[in-house]
Amino acid sequence: MNERTTQPAVAASGIVKQYMNGAFTALHDVALNIQEGEVVAFIGPSGCGKTTMLRLISGLEKPTAGSLETFGDPIVGPGPDRGMIFQAYTSFPWLTTKKNIEYGMKVIGIPKDERERKAQEMLKLVHLDKFADSYPNSLSGGMKQRVAIARTLAQNPCIILMDEPFGALDAQVRWEMQEMMIEVIEREKKTVIVVTHDIEEAIYLADRIVFFTRNPGQVKENIPMEFKKGKRFALKEEMFDQEGYAEMERRLFAMMREEIVATSAA
């Protein structure tokens, strides 16, 4: 819809992130390009720096060295152009579902009547229209997370960053949320980066998987989900039926195991 330059949504090069005055290196020389409209999953063993990379893109943390840009502009701090969804429930407990969704829009100065109209639309999108006036303490974990997703989407960010968004949910709610996310992505045409430790989730959501290796955190491999032939599946079982799915899952498990074995031997 809106004309954009051909600049990538995220362009990172030579990214280094150190903690404790250099005593610990979380990321070492990471280069990354993510195109507009792409859905990318970061996976890798615990401590590989995938969450750190996401937080750098969000602007919540600053890289020790390297260049980090979004659509050609350097990232200097957090902003509403990059919406973030956390593993912990961040829907504000003192606001109703509807007020939560409106909050992000209020922050960026959208007028009240437009906020209300858009909130109504978002409530439908995340299937929460019956709970518009409920407070989060009467919602389930999955519903709280949907409030956070709707609040982020309502701001109409260019990029959506998700840090293990469904990690705290039980298995059934988890795949419902994954399928809802595909519905949202297809409708909103957003650039999405999702950090996960769930291989199946990564394959299902992503067009491309970026596999991180640890000590120090680096990109080991970029793995396009070619077996999907450019499609995103509304139902998970449609993906399981695809030729090449099992092979992809097997390959990623093997990569993960290799990482775990390598570090426990070191």
Binding site: L60, G83, F86, F92, W94, Y103, V107, N137, S138
Partner: protein, 294 residues
Amino acid sequence: MTQEVNTSTIITNRDAPAQFIRDADTHAHKERFFELLSPVGGRKAAVLGVIGAILFFAVWEIGHYATPEEGRRFLPSVEQVVGRLFFLFTEKEFIYDVLQSCLRIFGSFFAASAVAIPLGIMLGSFGGFKALINPTVSGLRYLPAASFIPLLLVWFGPSETAKMALLFLGVLFFLIAMVLDNTEAVQREYTEAALTMGASRKRIILEVIVPAAMPAIIDSMRTMIAVGWTYLVIAEIVGAKDGIGAVMMRAGRFLNVDTIMAGIFMIGVLGVLTDIMFRILQRVLFPWNVKKKV
């Protein structure tokens, strides 16, 4: 839907020593008063609470009658103390002293809160500000407020200001520390989420940190106003013509133990009322925070 489970094979492990099996059985069946992880609420809690209070008054009453005749005036009975309290209200204009005490405590507590809450929230929100201020405030917290009495008397004389200042100081430094903790305990992701939405610092403090911390802050206030009563009595004992503490102090000179105990009783009642008031406030202000019944 119901599935038959062969429970006997699960509960009794034939290879386990006999005493373990016995132990497991008591855990499973016997209802015990001292049970771990068994919160009590509702009717049962109310009944137990009343029983506890009755026990307290019973021990007091027994204490009175067990004391030899000539010493009983030093431990008056429950009915004597309650009767005395009634007498103080009807004949001695005790209501005036009670109101005076309430005015002192609520006035100074309000002033202390007005300083401590904004300051505590700022300290909890900004690391640099905390590093600058907090070590000094923590130091002051270790000074007993009562040690300020001579200083306050020199500065303000035996005035109302001196009493209010003692109450103020007694509460202030602890309340700052508690509000600071309450603020830091706000889930980090709320602030981070607001930051990624592009909210300003002012907006985040007023619209995220304050509402998130407020229920805990009200609880801290509830705890600290109890400490306020301690300093109130000290202040009124040191030099006041009126107030509950002054009435008790005067009664002490004439060994009017029933008046002293009536005063203590009155403070207890006021304390419980204040506590209830804060709990109601909590429910009215933060309906979203009321825990769901399980």
